[in-house]
Symmetry: D2
Subunit: 354 residues, 4 copies
Amino acid sequence: MSKMRANVFLAKNKIEVREVERPHAGVGEAVIRITLTTICGTDLHIVRGEYPVKSGLVIGHEPVGVIEELGEGISGYEIGDRVLVGAITPCGQCRACLSGHLSQCGRGEGYEALGGWRFGNSINGAQAEYLLVPNAQANLAKIPPELTDEQVVLLADIASTGFGGAESANIRIGDSVVVFAQGPIGLCATAGAKLMGASLIIGIDGDETRLQMAKKMGADVVLDYRDADVIAEVKKLTGGGADVTIEALGTQQTFESALRVLRPGGTLSSLGVYSGKLQIPYDAFAAGIGDHRIVTTLCPGGKERMRRLMETVRMGRVDLRPLLTHTFSLNQICDAYDLFGERLDGVLKVAIKP
Amino acid sequence: MSKMRANVFLAKNKIEVREVERPHAGVGEAVIRITLTTICGTDLHIVRGEYPVKSGLVIGHEPVGVIEELGEGISGYEIGDRVLVGAITPCGQCRACLSGHLSQCGRGEGYEALGGWRFGNSINGAQAEYLLVPNAQANLAKIPPELTDEQVVLLADIASTGFGGAESANIRIGDSVVVFAQGPIGLCATAGAKLMGASLIIGIDGDETRLQMAKKMGADVVLDYRDADVIAEVKKLTGGGADVTIEALGTQQTFESALRVLRPGGTLSSLGVYSGKLQIPYDAFAAGIGDHRIVTTLCPGGKERMRRLMETVRMGRVDLRPLLTHTFSLNQICDAYDLFGERLDGVLKVAIKP
Amino acid sequence: MSKMRANVFLAKNKIEVREVERPHAGVGEAVIRITLTTICGTDLHIVRGEYPVKSGLVIGHEPVGVIEELGEGISGYEIGDRVLVGAITPCGQCRACLSGHLSQCGRGEGYEALGGWRFGNSINGAQAEYLLVPNAQANLAKIPPELTDEQVVLLADIASTGFGGAESANIRIGDSVVVFAQGPIGLCATAGAKLMGASLIIGIDGDETRLQMAKKMGADVVLDYRDADVIAEVKKLTGGGADVTIEALGTQQTFESALRVLRPGGTLSSLGVYSGKLQIPYDAFAAGIGDHRIVTTLCPGGKERMRRLMETVRMGRVDLRPLLTHTFSLNQICDAYDLFGERLDGVLKVAIKP
Amino acid sequence: MSKMRANVFLAKNKIEVREVERPHAGVGEAVIRITLTTICGTDLHIVRGEYPVKSGLVIGHEPVGVIEELGEGISGYEIGDRVLVGAITPCGQCRACLSGHLSQCGRGEGYEALGGWRFGNSINGAQAEYLLVPNAQANLAKIPPELTDEQVVLLADIASTGFGGAESANIRIGDSVVVFAQGPIGLCATAGAKLMGASLIIGIDGDETRLQMAKKMGADVVLDYRDADVIAEVKKLTGGGADVTIEALGTQQTFESALRVLRPGGTLSSLGVYSGKLQIPYDAFAAGIGDHRIVTTLCPGGKERMRRLMETVRMGRVDLRPLLTHTFSLNQICDAYDLFGERLDGVLKVAIKP
C-alpha cells in the first residue's frame, strides 16, 4: 500500500506531518496530487481544539492540484488535468443541493448543517500530497492554462466566502457598505462589494497593515476602531446608516456594531463563525420591526462556483496574490501554523507546497 | 372650532374618551369620518407605558371611514368615498419610499426607523370620530361596494403584517412552515402561509381557542406548547426542520424556538416587537454558517397594499371576520381595552364604532 | 437477454408495442418497473413527426414505478421502493445544474438546451414495462405510502410545468392572473396560480368541458374565446391589465393575447412549445419600454421537485385525479393515442398501466 | 407674464427656439432654471415625426438646474439649490409607483404605460431656460457640491437606462455579458455590466469610435459586426452562449442576435425602442422552453435613483464626461440636432447651455 505525507491532527495543539495511506478513487471519486494549498482560520480553531475533529484526520480544505486517479462514473476529465476544488464539495444530488443550498448538502439525503464541508472536517483534507475528492463530477474545476496555482488557490474558500457575503446581501449599484474586520475573509468581502457596484465601501479593523490592504482591495475609507468612534463615523459618512454591513470576524462586538450602523430596511450579511450566545440589542434592531435582514453564508462550493471565480481572476477583475504573503513546504507546515496563528510578520495567507 | 370625541392617552394606564379639536385637511391631506376601527396589541403597550407616546395623543391606527375633507393637491377622490387606510402611511416620495421601504418612510427625506407608522404614534390616531390622513394621495384606498367595513378593517394592520411575514419569507409551493403564537398577527401569518402555497403549516400556541382558530385559518397541525415537545414534534413532522418559521409574539422563547426548528438554509421571519436583548443561541444558528436568514417586517402600508388585500377578501381567498369577536362603541372603549388587555371571553379583536 | 414490452416510435404516425431489450442499471443508474405512466402532448408531436426522435426509441416521460435494479454509487434506496421520477432528469453535477438551471442540464459539462429532458427524447422512455433512470441519485423520489400512483403520476410533467409557469412569474398575494388555454398544462397553471395566492384567476379556452374543469382547478372567471372579446373582457375585469399572464398552448394568437392583456410592468409566463416565428406586436409591448418581462419555463425536474409536489398532494392542497379521465393497458396504447390525439370523449389525460 | 426661450416642436422636422411663457410652480411642483441639458435619441424620433407629440411642446428630458420656485407642499429644499431631475418623474403615490414600477406611473391612479415619462412628452421639457417639475418632492435630487453639472447631466436618462439594463438582467459576479450597440445607452449598459461584476463584457457595434469608447467604459472585447461573425465569435468566447445579453438599439437584427448568443437559462435585457413587429425566431428561443427570460426597462427615475447614480460618480466608480463630446448654447440647438442626428464628428452626446 503506497504512502504519502500529510498534516495530521492528533490532539489539541498537536499536529504533525506524518506518513499516512495514500487514497484511491472509488465510484464517483477522484484523487488529485496537491500542488498548492493554504491554511485557513478554521484550521487554527481545529488545532486549538475549538472545533472538534477526530484524531488522525488530515486537515486543510483549500486544494489546487493535478488529477492522479479518476473513479468510475466520472466523465470529461483526464489524468493530468490541473484542477481547483472548492472547500465545500456538494454532491449536487440531495434535497439541499437540488434546492440550491449546496453548502448544507446532505449527500444523497436531506439537509445536513454544514454538510458540504467535508475536507479536513469529516474526511481527510488538503494539507497532504494527495487528496481524495468525493462527488468529483460536481467538484473538479479545470484551471485555465493562463492562470497559476497562486492566482486561484484563495478562491477555494476565502474569496468564495467573502464574495458570497457581498452576494447574499444583494449589493446594488450605489449602495454604501461597511465591512467589519479586514482579515482574509473581510478583505475578500471588501473586494466583492467593489465588484458588485457599491459606491461607498468602508473597511474597519484595528491593524494598520490590514487597513492598507483593505484600500488595495477596494475600500474607499478605512477606520481603525482603536482611534475612531466607528458607529458615529459610519453614520456620518452614510447619511444615517449603511445599506449593507458585512460581519467578517465572528464576535459579539462586530456583529452588534454591524447592526448599529445599518439603516432601516438594510441587510446585515454575517460571515463570522460564532461561539456562545450572540446578542441582538433591541434598540439597534428597531425592536424587530425595522425591516432589517440578517443573512448568513457558508462558503459556496462546487465546480461552477470555482469556474466563475477563476473567470473573475482571468479577466483581471480581482487579484488575490497580495494576500498570499508567505510560502512554506508541507514539511514546514507547523512553522506556518505558528506564524499564521500568531499573526506574525504581517501574514495574511500562507502558501503550502507539498 | 368644531370638536370631536376621541380616545386620548393621558399617562401610563390612563386613557379617556374626551372632546378634542376636530382636524382639518391641509395640502396633500384628507380628513375621514371613522366608521369602524379596532384596538391593536401595540395600543396596549402604549397604554401600559411600555411604548412611549406623548400625553394628549389620540391613539389607534386601524381606520375605516368616509372622506369628509380633501386638501389641495389630492385628485381622484370625492367627499363621501368609503376608504380603508393602512396603519402605516408612507409618503411615497422620500428616499426610503422610493426604494420600496415604505414602512421606514422618512417623509420627504431619508430613512426613519418605523417612520411610516404615524397614526397614534407621532400624530393623532384612529380611535376617534375623525382622522387626519397625511399623504392622502398615497394612502386612501377606496373600498369596493360589495365589502363591508367589518370585512376590511383587519387588513389595515394585522392582515398586512401577518401576510407580510409570509411574504418576506418568500414561502414557496411545497414549503413546510411553522407559526409561533396564534394571536391576531400569528393567525394572519398562518392564513398568509396557506395563501402562498405552503404544503404543511404548523401552528403553535398555548390557548385552545386560538389553536382552534388556527385550524380555521389554515394550519394543518396545531401544537399546544403546554403539552407538546414543540422542537421534537416539529422536527419529526418536517423531516428534520421547517423551510420557514414565523415568529409572531416578540419573546426570547418563541424567537429561539423558531430558530431551533429551522432547517439549514431556512428563513426565520420575525414579526414580533422585542424588548431587551434578544439572544441567538449559536448551536441553533449553526455557529452562524447554516445559510439561515432572519428577516423582519413592519406592517406594509399604502393604498396599493390595501387594494390588494381587499381583493383577496372580495374574491373569497380569506375571511377575517371570525377574528372580530366583540363590538363596542367609542364611548365604551375603556371596557374594550380591559377585555382585550386581559384576553377575556376568548377575545381576538374588538370592533370599535364611533 | 431478457425482454420487455414497450411503445416504440418507428416512423411518422407509426408507433407499435414491441418486445425490446430490458435495460440494466450501470454506475449511477437504476431500473424501475413501471406501474403507471401517461401520454403527453409532446408525445403526440413526436408521433406526428413534428418533433424529431430517432426510429426505434421507446417514448414517454412520466413514470411511476418500483425500483428493480440499483447500479453502483446509489445510496439510500432499496429494491422495491415505490418511486416517482420527473420528466426531466438533471444530473445535478454540471454547470447548468449547479447554477440551478436543472432543465438545461449539460450532463457533467456546460449547458445544453433542454438537456434535462432525456426520457423518450435522447434515451428510452416510460411507455414500457421497465425504465432505465439515469443519474438515479438525483431523480428517484420515494412515494409516501398514503399516496396512490394515480395521485402522483401527473406531477412528473404537467403539474411541475404548470405550477412552474406560476412560480416563474413570481405570482404574489393579490395578483390578477390570466391563463391562456386550459389543457392539462393550463389547468395545472391555473391550480398553481391559486396555490400562490392570486386573488383573481381568469381561465381562457374554447372548450366547455375544459372551462368547467378550470373552475374546479381554481379559476374565478372563465372566458370562452369563441363568444367573448377576451382582450376587452380581461381589461375590464382587471382594471386595465393583468399582473401576470400565462401562455399554455404555444401559438401566436395565445402569446399575443397574453401580451395584450398584460399591464405595464407585468409578467408574461410562457409555457407553450412554439414553432416558426413568434411575433411580438410592438404596440402591445409598449414599444419595448413597458417594463414587461417574458419568462419561459421547461418542466422543473429532480427528486426534490417531485418530493415537494407530492407534499402538496399529500396535504390536500391539490388533487389532479379529475384530470386522469381514461385508463388503458400498455397493449392498448395505440388506442389511447388515438383518443388523446383527437381529443375524444372529453379526454384530458390517460392512465397507461403496463 | 414673464417669458423664456425654449426649443419648441412645431411639426415634423421643424423645431425652433422661441419665446414662450415661463412656468410657475403650483401645489407640489417646482420650477428650476436650467443650467445644463442635452439631446436624446428619443428627441430625434420626435423631431422626425416618428414619435408623436403635440405641436407647441417644449422638448427635452435631461435637466440640471437651480431651484427658482417651490410650490406649496414641498419641504426640505430651498430656492437656489442645485438639482438633477431624472428624465422620468414618478409621482410616488399611485398604484404603479407604490408597487415599485415608477416608470409606469399612473399619477395618483393605476398604471399608465410609460406614464412616468412626462418631460418633452406630455408636458413641457428641459430644452428651455426654465422647467416646471411635477411631483417635485419625489423628483428633485440635490447635487453634491463637489460634482459639476457636466458630471451629472447624463445620469438623468442614459446612465439610468443603461445601468438599468444591467440591473434588470440581475448580472452576477462572473457573468459573461454581450451588449449590442455602443451608442450612449449601450455604452452605459457596458459600464453598468462592469460595475455589477461581469467577468467578460463583449461590446458590439459597427463604428470604430464607439468601439474604442466601449473599451474605455468597460468592454473586454469589442466586435465590429461589419467584419466579424458576431454569433460565432460570441459563442466561442463564452463557451457556448452568454449569461446575459443587452439590446441597446431597438432593431430586429440586434434583438435576434441578442437571443441567438444567449445560453439556455440566460437573460436578454432589452433597452431598445422598437417599431413594427418584433420577431422571436423559435430556434434561437429553444421553441420557448429554454428557460430564457426577456426583460425590458424604461429609464428608472425619481430623486433616490438620481442620488444613487450621483454617488457612483462622486466616488469615482464611473465617469461619463468622455461621452459629452460637444457643447452648444440653447440658441444654437438646431445645429446641435443636425450634428447629433447625422452622427457627425464622432458625436456621442451634446451639452446644451441655456
